[in-house]
Symmetry: C2
Subunit: 276 residues, 2 copies
Amino acid sequence: MPHSNQPGRSVASRLFEVLFALRTGRSRLTLADLTRETGLPHATVRRLALELVEAGALDRSPDGGFTVGIRLWQLGTLAPLSVPLRTVALPFMDDLHAALRQHVQLAILEGTSAVLVERLSSGHAVDVASQPGGQLPLHSSGVGKVLLAHAAPDLTDQIIAAGLTPHTQHTTTEPTWLRAELAECRETGVAYVHGETSLGVDSVATRVLNAEGEVVAALSVVVSAGTVDLRTVRPTVIACGLAVSRSLGWRPSAGTRQAGPLARAAGPSSRSRSSD
Amino acid sequence: MPHSNQPGRSVASRLFEVLFALRTGRSRLTLADLTRETGLPHATVRRLALELVEAGALDRSPDGGFTVGIRLWQLGTLAPLSVPLRTVALPFMDDLHAALRQHVQLAILEGTSAVLVERLSSGHAVDVASQPGGQLPLHSSGVGKVLLAHAAPDLTDQIIAAGLTPHTQHTTTEPTWLRAELAECRETGVAYVHGETSLGVDSVATRVLNAEGEVVAALSVVVSAGTVDLRTVRPTVIACGLAVSRSLGWRPSAGTRQAGPLARAAGPSSRSRSSD
DNA sequence: CGGGTATGTTCATTGAACGAACATCGCCGT
DNA sequence: ACGGCGATGTTCGTTCAATGAACATACCCG
């Protein structure tokens, strides 16, 4: 039986199975790697991979390794997140970075993860593994919590159903607790993380709104635990988030739909549920 | 005849015809746009585009526009030019930017164009249209000339055969003249451009070498004509290019294959190949 | 030299891709 | 109201490109 693939699968799906076998940390794969990764017959993988090379989507080094091609990278730069979001946010992130001398991150929601879009790091700050293009968990990162809090409610159900993987002993694994955190975040517009992603790393995150008052991104400052008082960082982060939102066309009045309570959150006083 | 496409074309090729219809400045296309752009029957384009959306390669806005998807952007960030080239070059480009307060560009060769990989701009400097991911002509830009000079000789023939499109009245359109410039550049490692890409914009470009002594990129400073003495900029650019090359593992001794003459070019005076 | 792994090549089979034709919707000018 | 027009969406018989098991080669290691 020389055609025993399960029917219903399109060429395109197979093609992208090969393409997306390249992931963070696995950005250079051999033909055998691709075969293992996809589970497809090696003859098929070979044919598809060579077609991808011919199209310029992949590059092949003389030693046989496949990597993402320059043309595909170029195509990626056309993604709408480059403009206006990144362009608009970058100067403000620069300011935030200059003021605090700590990591500053910008992330958006994609499927069931937060995707890191932009990042400014300080040499002397804690090292975080993530790079632009990398993924962060929705339930245990600052930006993740902000994005999850403002996403469709059933996404939270999905995330909880999928299991709240504990990355450290501080990761929130209790569904009720997480839901409470998210509700709090919806109220204040801010999310805190204390060593939930990795030990000794804290972060404060806030939301970024567009002209329609929708949460389009999350902005966070990541600090080494204990070095900085998060209560100091909080208003700075909030102000920066508001500044970016404003530049995207958001106005406090226009934003009543989702962003109403943020006004209260902006003041550090009211009910400072601190961190210590 | 319900199957009148010219045979020999693969699905993959059609798929990428649709994908690469998205170009700089045309990063958001409707179905009709894609159909016009590719010349394929609209039923085919529709099917392919929807498959691309399902795979996450494209995003479709509610109003029907197709844009590059986030997953494709993520995939692009895995391209080998991000690491090590960009990562290594960025700090040095920062220094160059800090020292000169002018545009600093990093580009690589891709096909018959130079592709802008990284760019630092100063608000008060001349405005150049190009963005990371954008293309620059090989015959009329600084980085282009550097890359062309060190590429396979038949690429020059190709470029000349394709016609030296004049972008301004200063663009080199005479093949012999261009070849002379390229020879000069091979000798000195530096290329100058005086208003060839756009009027009033000058640039100085130099090469970046890897551990094997191959030219892997070009580095340039772009200035408004007349504001800066290019003779001042030249040694700074050269030193920066050498610094990046060193960080990539290149050593003057090891680089004799292609990089021999650079030593002379490095010193403003004939042969003080200064590193001190 | 035999076993293992990575890569490359062949070819009969067939189902997925194809696209002409048809259908629908909204828009604009008359 | 009507008809022309462009954009989008849907159908379906035809057929050729995609498929993958089998074979072939090359290399490494014990």
